[in-house]
Symmetry: C5
């Protein structure tokens, strides 16, 4: 579905144009076209390929989807694949944004992404002095927005880790902690698969030899790279702590097992000792003088209780109970 | 066994040719020969060596088999070793495809591979504008097909991981989970050994200095590299999760142990406490007035039951039962 | 808040200058301005941007804060982000110092940092022969001070590790050890996130191509790099030992579990054996001659005690008790 | 001990020569000398040093032995250290082969190696068209043979791993598995220490700048490198699986522990419940009407058995027994 | 403290010189001065700085000590920091040797090192043909000696590992093994921190661009590098085995736990079954005919013993006892 398609000149909006006119505007050296598609059909992609003169292999990639994030050069144009990561309830959902960038056009298509990029267009149109930089600037602005949207997702994961850390030394939380740690790991990996390949790709857009279409924008792309590097470092930091947390959790589970065994041992003793005492006075020897005492029975009960009190205090002292 | 042997000119099939004529057609600058062998004997390989003028070391490698995936230059020709990975019941079976590529010939030999490459030939013949690119294009098409066939195998492994993940926090599934995780790891390693060395090798077919025979095909080989990189990243992702899953599984086993110990303790108490009570009234003291009560016995039984109900509820409350 | 703002000439203090005059002094080729801000507001940063002619992207980074340590070139000026790590009670608190360095100015802003850099300024003013090197020297001096302040923090972490190591083979310390090890890891990661990116960045200030503003100061920046490398190696060393310590701790927990089980088994036997003996003489067989013996009962008790003494000594011998 | 010493010309054997004549033959530009020593004494090495004109540092290394595999250039000659790995009963024994290669000589010395290289010499002499390549070819042939001998050793280790894998989910095999896994690791490390440094060294004998003596032999050395890379990849694969196997083994040990605890709990219940029942009817209450029943006793026994049957079936059902 | 200070000419000792004359001898192009300090005071270092014309930053590093091993260029002179590792009882003690090398002087200072380098000087003076190489040769000789002294330390650690390996599958050795493994790790890390940074630094003294003072000595420094690489590889090998050993140890601890639990279960059954039997005949049913049998009691005891013998044999058979 075509979301919108606008021609710009000197950083200012010229007109909304019908898709049939794209090829015409693209030919004009002084203006550029910025079109956006959403969940495009094969037919729409094909139409766009013809209007913009896109490379067949790139269009095929966009059509099949499920690509790894990457930025590829096709002659003097670029084809970029980015992943969006959005929170949906407790899960992360991954969408794909493909961007075709040529000297005077930008075409973005998004699949499986809830939030669009109308705000990017609005902000660009409010800043004509920057939009004047043309297609590369739009490319930067889209990429910057997508990368910026990773941060709240990562912040949520950091918060998840902190919540787990608060619970990790709490008794009886081991099962929920371990489930939460595994879930956290899965989400981290999702984010990592979006961030790491992109970081690698963006690193080639500034510094040494850069694609012609991105020239003179080095500081902007370095800025995006910088954000990606920060995301990457934070992800690695969380992964590292999460690995340690799993080990610590295992230690806590085993500590807890020991404590249960100690409790079992303590209470077993408290029941078994009076049972032994009762067994002794249950023997059938003829000559057991205390059996004839009037207060023999209450004394026996008293003895049992006394033994148990001693045992109980002893186990409390060595912290087995 | 020679599967087929065809000469092409200008991207179109010229004729099926007998193997004796290969050396003749290979000499013609305007056409190229595409031959395919299946489980070749030493004699067949030798014949091919002479007809195509292959390098001795390459033929020896093809003869011995069990090579690591690789792409080697011998003068102006290439020798490529690729692994095929096919699902056979619950197991993965690895086959080997060796491809000799020269300026105007392609010879492929496959060993231990069930599915052939007739579809590659058919598709190439339907697209003469592409086949016109010659031997390098056929090389690309074969490689692309082999790599494409990795994806369903990997998808199956991803599904296996997901199945395990659904089971990992289920009680009493620890043994089958751990077996499944180990099996998954073995399959992953099989795929990894096919993918990683090939990725490394294909990465040298585009970009900087490339073998002459592959020139001007950079975008195609980059595409294959891209697929391999995606496979590689997914494999690494599964491995990472699988490692964590094994640790989590160990945690679950230990948690389960603790629960068994708790149950043991709970039921032990429920049996031991009335045993103690019975022991007490089994003592032989003369003066135990309650023994003479008419309802002493039912009261005793009632006391035992009451104690057990209290214990049961208590253990339920602290979740030991 | 502007902490101070001074103009220097030939390594000597010229005058405290009001911020409105900065742009004037910065234009003079023979002197340089060194200003310091603390918790700057957006307005203050904007003012500085105009006076010093700072790059917009750098100012934006300084305004948003929470950057990864880095050193970036903007034309002939540098923008550096450093983290300060201070001990606050049992926790580490991270602050940020941003430094803008141009051919004849240095502007530092600090956020969330308790200790200022008045001592750096004082020392620089006492050594005019070094301060004569200009902005790059001030940059070095600030960076050197920040890096120097990491050492006592790291020393404290090393001491923490040693304290844990002394406790690690002590019984019943497993829980506190594991908590301490996790806490140590968290602090290490905090320090690591300050040190590692900075090391990488400083490594580009000497050796091959260096930013013009840092020329001829190579030996100084190599010295800072050297300190960072030492910090890095020590951090990695502690991490490595800490990982092993967690594994060892898990082993100790399991060893302890075994010991508890052994104790449980030993005492269970010591209680159960006389219970069995009592049970035997509690049977109601008619013909049990020993029941009629006068000393039957004390002998029975004696037997029980004897059996228990034997058991006790045996368990002591095999170290189960 | 001098094994043999032969002069070759044009790829053909000229004569067995006494060691005193070596220096003479080495001077002749059209022939080369191939000598082999076994467990050489310091005096023999010294003699060789003079005859061949070897570098002092290289001879010293050969004399001391226990070097890491390496290939070093000394002017226009090479000094190579290789490890042989031989199976001796259940153990691997490591020997050392040192090879000195000059423009027209090859001297090999072997220490602690059972199998010699007579077959290499025999094969070389059968192929004069290859031997004509001179010293570098002999160097290749020796290296190739040593590397080829690693394969059966590695195959044996792979078989060991497979044997363990078959045992790993078998009950009560945990102890022998863990011993076998540790032993496997030790052997793997031995092989790894022979293969990895050599791979690194051989990688410098083809491709870019190569030692002059090895020129034009690139395809041969690449072949050796290829074999080493295959060995390396297989070793890493086994290591990876072995690491996972140890973790899995730990999981199996813990699972087994749980099963033992379950069995203990099950049988404890089966014994304790009738004990309780017996205890109840062992009480001394006056009014226990069932005690007077004629079939009271058999009924009691019947009840005990019935309870145990129920318990047994229950524990079977939940798989505790 | 000045240990000694000697001037050499043409590889031969000229004279012991007082430290005031150093600056004079250093100026002579045909001779060089070799001085050695031990635990130098700040004043002594300052004096040396003036006599030899050392760089301020290098002297400062030597004064502060606790540097990471490194080799730094200051103009045409070198400053090297090396660690000595000496065995002191059961512990390793780390000392520091700093070496200043200029075109015609070598100054070494050692701190915290027991063994001096008198033997290096003696050997150098016995070999004037080598000492003729000047300061770089002395530098090599000192470094070579320090590195050589690492080998016996490492050998001791290898022996420690082997001792542990012999104990690792022995029962009841788990606690001492785990303590020994941790201790081994600590010592390994100490050695590693001495070896690894030095290896990196020495690698820059041969091959490509080398500091001028070390020119033409490449083969000697490669030899030192080679030794360091061997140390490095052995350290890594021990670390790898030690990591596995800790995991194996954990497995042994858990196996042992299982065995204890089995023993507990076995003996519990052997005590509980006759207790049950005694309980049955302790019931008070009127009609229990066997109670009246003359041999009822001995038969009952016999039954108990028989049951226990059966149980004992059974548990022996399944290896629980």
């Amino acid at each position: 579905m075509l979301v919108n398609c606008v021609a710009y000149q000197e950083g200012r909006k010229l007109a909304d144009i019908p898709k049939e006119d794209i090829s015409e505007y693209v030919k004009r050296p002084d203006c550029f076209v910025w079109a956006a598609l959403k969940e495009p059909s094969a037919a729409e992609l094909d139409e766009m390929r013809e209007e913009f003169g896109l490379h067949e292999l790139a269009v095929e990639d966009a059509h099949h989807g499920h690509q790894r994030p990457k930025i590829e050069e096709y002659g003097d144009s670029l084809f970029a694949v980015l992943h969006t990561v959005e929170t949906q309830g407790d899960e992360l959902s991954v969408g794909e944004v493909d961007i075709f960038v040529g000297p005077n056009y930008v075409l973005s298509t998004r699949v499986g992404t809830e939030r669009g990029f109308a705000d990017v267009r609005a902000r660009c149109e409010r800043e004509p002095h920057l939009l004047r930089n043309g297609a590369a600037y739009v490319f930067y602005a889209l990429m910057d927005k997508i990368v910026d949207r990773y941060f709240p997702v990562l912040d949520a994961l950091e918060t998840e880790l902190e919540t787990i850390e608060e619970q990790i030394f709490v008794k009886n939380a081991a099962r929920s902690n371990i489930e939460a740690l595994y879930e956290l790991k899965r989400k981290l990996m999702t984010l990592k698969h979006a961030v790491d390949p992109l970081m690698e790709a963006v690193g080639k857009l500034y510094g040494g030899r850069v694609p012609q279409v991105c020239e003179n924008m080095g500081e902007y792309f370095r800025d995006v790279f910088d954000h990606l590097q920060r995301l990457h470092a934070t992800i690695e930091g969380i992964r590292d702590m999460q690995t340690t947390a799993i080990q610590v959790n295992l230690g806590m589970i085993n500590l807890n097992e020991t404590e249960v065994t100690k409790k079992l041992a303590g209470w077993a003793a408290i029941i078994a000792v009076p049972t032994l005492v009762a067994g002794i006075w249950g023997m059938n020897f003829k000559h057991m003088p205390e059996l004839d005492l009037e207060f023999g029975y209450p004394l026996a009960i008293g003895l049992m209780i006394a033994l148990d009190v001693v045992l109980y205090l002893w186990f409390k002292k060595i912290r087995w109970l």
